[in-house]
Subunit: 406 residues, 2 copies
C-alpha cells in the first residue's frame, strides 16, 4: 500500500451510524432457538410462576397448621404430574417429589427423612412453618416482571430462565445479513492439500485466513449477524466490483478484505464510494467505510490482525447499531473483585451484576431464591470458594453480558 | 431429593483424575480445521519465514547500496508471484507490491510516492538503508522456533499465525466423545409447538433445558469434546440403565442430568457405580462422579444452574485431563491493567501476555514485528486508545487463552 494521508480518528465512526439502515423486521421464535438473537421487545412475565406452591424437597405435603401431628397418606404427586383433583382434608398428607405442585390444602413439605412412617400414617414430630421446603406461588417470577429488555442479545442463561417460568417464545429482530469478499491474486482458499498449500506459501502465495478470522469473530461475538456468503476473488477489479454490487443487493452490509489502500490494485479506492478512507489506527490504517443506500461497505486490510482491528474498532459498532443491540453477549471466565462478603462453608456459584470500576471489573452478588431464574441485571455467575469470599476478594466469573462500555 | 450426608469437598475431584483414561490417539489435521483441537506435539517452524526479503510497502525494489540514484525499471513482482528468475543488475529496479518476495539483488523498497518516475527511469533522491520497508528473511519466524506447545487448545489466532508462515497441518488428539442423558418424567423436549409447551409448564411439566445448557457450555468452552448424543428419557430406570451401558461402550464419558440424589426415582444412586456421591457445593450438592473402566459417569442436578455448577467444578477438570489440555481456550473481552507504557498517537491493537496478579488481570505487551505472527506466550490482544496507555491503565483485552489457574 502507499502511505495514506488525512486519516480519520477512530471516533469518527460515529458519523456513520445515522447513515445506515437499522433492521426493522421482527420475528417470533421459540425460546430454545433464541440464543444469540436480539430481543425486539421487553419480555414480560404473563403470569406468576409457579402458579401453585411447589415442592423444593422430596417428602410429605401437609398443612403447616397441623404440624406437629400424624397424617394419613392419601396420594402422591410426582414432578411433572398435574393433580389439581387431589385435595387434602384435615389430617391428610401426599407424597411429593421436588418440583411437583403441592395439592390443594398443603402449604409445607416435610422432608422424607424428617418424618417417620407408621404403616399408613406419617408422623411429624416438630412444627413446619408455612412454605417450609416449598417455593411459594410467584416466587420465581411475578406477573408483569420484565425478564429481558428490548435490545439485549439473548444468552443461553436467559433461555433457561424463560423456559423455567413458561415463556416459550419471544420476538427478536431478524438477523443482519453480511457478505464478505476476500481479494488478492496471492490468495489460496482451502480446502486444498496441506502439503501443496505449504509449498505455495514458500513460493509467495498466501492461504486465505483474514476473511476467515473476520468471519470467526463476527460469528462468535455477533451471532445476530449471519455471514451469508464468503467469496475469495483475485485482483480482477471488474469481478470484485460485480461481487460488491450483487452483495449490496442481497445483503445488509459488505466487508472487503485486502485492497483497502490507494495503490493500483486496491479495490476499495477504485469502487469510488467515498466515505471514510483510512483511520488513525495501527495496524489497520487503510480500514475504510462507505455507506451506499443505507448499507455499509467496509474495506479492511488483507493482514489478519490489522483486519481484526478494523472489525473491532469500525465494523462492530456499525453492525451492532444496525442490529439494534443495546446490550451484547459476554463470554468466558473473568477475574472480578467481589463487592460484598459472601458467607458459606460450601463452594458456591452466585449470580452477579458486573460493573467496570477503577482498577477493573467488580462483581456484586444478586440475591435470587431460585436457581435458574433470569434477572435482567445479572451479567454472569461467580464462583465463591469453600469458606466464602470477603469483600475485595478476586473471584472467577463466567460473564454472559458484554462488559464493554459504549 | 433427600438431604445427602457425607458430602465430599470439591477438591476431592483430584482423586478421580488418576482413574480415568486419557485420549492417546493422535490425528493430523489441516491447520484451517485445527481451531478448538488440542495440539498433540509442539509445533515447530520447519523453515525460516519469509524465505526471501519481502516487501512491506508497494514501491521499487532496489539495492540499498545504490541509493540515492537512478534505476532502470526491468520488471515487476506482484504479491503471490514467484519470480526467482528475475535478478537485478547494477542500476536496475523492479516494481513490487506489499507481500511480494524481492527479486535477487534487491534488499530495500523505495515507496512509490518517495520516488520520481522519469520515463523508463526511477529517481530516488535519498539514502534507503538495507531492509528499509522490507521484512527480512526469517523475520516472521526462525526455523526451530516453537510456535505452539503440546497440550494447548488451538485458537483461530494460532491458525492464522501458522498459515502465515507456511505451517498447514499439525498433530492433534482425537476429540473426546461424550454422551448426555437427561432424565425425568416431567421433561418435555423441543422441538414442540411453543404454545403447547407454555401450557405444559403451567401444568407442572418442565421444558428440557438443563442438558442443553450443559451441552452449550461444553461445546463453547471445551470444543475438544464432542457431544455425540443427547438422550431425553423418562424415569424408567431400566431404560436409563440401558442407555448408560450403551453410552459407556460407545463414548469416553457420560453425563446424566436429573436423578442425582438418593430418592426413589434417582438414577445415579441406583446404578450402583459407587464413586464420589455428593459434593460440598451449593447449588449442586447431589453432583456425583464414578469411574467405570476408566470412563467417568457424572451425575448432575436436574436444575440448570446447579448442573452448570457441577460441570464447572467437577466435569470440566476431569474432561480437560482426559483430553490432555494443558492450556485451554480463552474467550471474550476482559478488562486488564497494563504493566508497561505503550506510546503512540494512533489507536492500537497489541499482542499481550496475561497474568492474574493481586487485584485481577495484568496485561504485558509482547513486541512482535509482524502483524499476525503467533507467539506461544501471547494470550490475547489489547486495545490501546489513541494517545497511548500508561502503566497501570485499564485496557480492554480480547483473550484467547484460558485465564484460569490450575
Amino acid at each position: 500500500m502507499r502511505y495514506l494521508t488525512g486519516l480519520n480518528p477512530v471516533s469518527k465512526v460515529a458519523d456513520i451510524l445515522p447513515q445506515v439502515k437499522r433492521v426493522e423486521e421482527v420475528e417470533k421464535v421459540a425460546a430454545w432457538d433464541a440464543a444469540g438473537r436480539v430481543a425486539a421487545r421487553d419480555v414480560v412475565a404473563p403470569h406468576d410462576y409457579p402458579p401453585y406452591p411447589r415442592a423444593a424437597y422430596d417428602g410429605y405435603a401437609v398443612s403447616s397448621e397441623e404440624t406437629p401431628g400424624r397424617f394419613k397418606l392419601v396420594g402422591a404427586v410426582l414432578v411433572g404430574q398435574y393433580r389439581r383433583d387431589l385435595v387434602l382434608g384435615r389430617g391428610e398428607a401426599a407424597y411429593v417429589t421436588v418440583g411437583a405442585f403441592l395439592p390443594e390444602g398443603a402449604d409445607a413439605v416435610v422432608p422424607e427423612e424428617a418424618a417417620r412412617k407408621e404403616g399408613e400414617l406419617v408422623a411429624v414430630e416438630r412444627r413446619f412453618e408455612k412454605y417450609a421446603n416449598v417455593d411459594p406461588p410467584g416466587s420465581y417470577v411475578r406477573k408483569g416482571t420484565v425478564l429481558l429488555r428490548q435490545g439485549t442479545v439473548v444468552t443461553p442463561f436467559d433461555v433457561v430462565g424463560l423456559l423455567d417460568v413458561g415463556i416459550t417464545s419471544l420476538y427478536v429482530y431478524r438477523k443482519l445479513r453480511l457478505g464478505i469478499i476476500a481479494t488478492g491474486d496471492e490468495l489460496v482458499a482451502p480446502p486444498i492439500d496441506p502439503e501443496v498449500a505449504a509449498e505455495l506459501v514458500m513460493r509467495g502465495r498466501v492461504i486465505e485466513s483474514t476473511a476467515s478470522l473476520v468471519s470467526w469473530y463476527i460469528q462468535t461475538y455477533m451471532p445476530y449477524v449471519e455471514v451469508r456468503e464468503k467469496a475469495v476473488l483475485g485482483d480482477r477489479h471488474e469481478e470484485v466490483r460485480a461481487a460488491v454490487e450483487r452483495f449490496l443487493q442481497q445483503y445488509d452490509a459488505v466487508v472487503i478484505t485486502g485492497g483497502a489502500g490507494p495503490s493500483e490494485i486496491d479495490h476499495f479506492y477504485k469502487l469510488g464510494f467515498g466515505g471514510l478512507r483510512g483511520f488513525r489506527m495501527k495496524p489497520g490504517r487503510p480500514t475504510s467505510v462507505a455507506v451506499v443506500g443505507g448499507k455499509p461497505v467496509f474495506g479492511l486490510s488483507g493482514y489478519p490482525i490489522s483486519a481484526l482491528h478494523g472489525v473491532v474498532r469500525i465494523v462492530e459498532p456499525v453492525l451492532r447499531h444496525m442490529a439494534n443491540v443495546a446490550r451484547g453477549l459476554g463470554h468466558g471466565w473473568h477475574y472480578a473483585v467481589i463487592t460484598q462478603d459472601v458467607q458459606g462453608e460450601m463452594a458456591q456459584i452466585v449470580r452477579v451484576r458486573l460493573e467496570v470500576g477503577e482498577g477493573g471489573l467488580q462483581a456484586t452478588p444478586i440475591k435470587t431464591r431460585h436457581h435458574s431464574f433470569t434477572d435482567p441485571d445479572a451479567c454472569g455467575v461467580a464462583l465463591v470458594p469453600p469458606g466464602g469470599a470477603k469483600r475485595g476478594d478476586v473471584v472467577l466469573v463466567l460473564a454472559y453480558r458484554d462488559l464493554r462500555r459504549g
